[in-house]
């Protein structure tokens, strides 16, 4: 089983990296870009012994307790197979 976890800055938090990328894109002539948010992507391989429910629970805890800082970041995840 594989978990894909996406961590991104909260909408209310200024994302200086995203803002810089947006400015660069505008400079390069990509006029249609309104905002860019830069985040992180984690791929976690899980033991096949876990039930889907256990896997979801573990991944959610990993994402909440370790991979994100709740003050500035939020996350979503999916589990494959």
């Amino acid at each position: 089983m594989k978990a894909n976890i996406y961590v991104s800055p909260k909408k209310t938090v200024l994302d200086p990296q995203g803002a810089t990328i947006r400015a660069a894109l505008a400079g390069l002539g990509f006029g249609g870009v309104e905002t860019v948010r830069q985040g992180k992507y984690f791929q976690i391989l899980l033991s096949s012994n876990l039930t889907p429910a256990q896997a979801r629970e573990q991944v959610e805890r990993i994402a909440r307790e370790v991979l994100t800082n709740p003050v500035i970041e939020e996350f979503t995840f999916q589990i494959e197979e």
Binding site: V13, P16, V71, I72
Partner: protein
Amino acid sequence: MKFGVVVFPGSNCDHDAYCAAEIMGQEAQFLWHESRDLQGSDVVILPGGFSYGDYLRTGAIARFAPILSSIKEFASRGGLVIGICNGFQILLEAGLLPGAMLRNRNLKFICRQVNIRVENAFTSFTNACSERQVLQVPIAHAEGNYFADPDTLIGLENSGQIVFRYCTPSGEITPEANPNGSLNNIAGIMSRKGNVLGMMPHPERACNPLLGSSDGRLIFASLIRAISLMGASKPELIKAR
């Protein structure tokens, strides 16, 4: 009195903090991250560096270190803790101080001398400074852009928890004097109880005039005074206003 300096594998300002304590004529000792023993330290310093490489987020893994649980317990009893640079980031991640660090506004590591203004001189960390005194202390970080939600920020402002702000040499708080984009020019904050301080500038790098400034000594001198007061009339701590 004893300064305990925490050593994570990626700490790199641990020796500098140790030397600063020695310059101030105090005893210093290293505290290994895997230990839970604070060895009777009167004050604990979380020094700068990259704790565990900081690949996930600065300080994100360090908060799980065994030594951190002892530090939390020490702080809850009113023990003095100071986190400098990466140490500040760890205190935020560990929940000992509110808020979080974003990358610097210009996305670069910045190392330079800055000016900070003492916003509250009635603390265990600043009692040797005068109110609104401007100190010259260097910064060296890539993530020192302090962020907190509006309610937290108002709380910090109203309870005198903001200890230092970036300022001009004459003490004005201006956007130009803010090196990294921190909200309200915040350079250092303390806990509500007033015994845990986090600051991005490095006072341990400003203890020798040969290196450009010795203003950092005021912070160590303040700690020494606070500890001796605590020893005399414990457990009364100097409280935030």
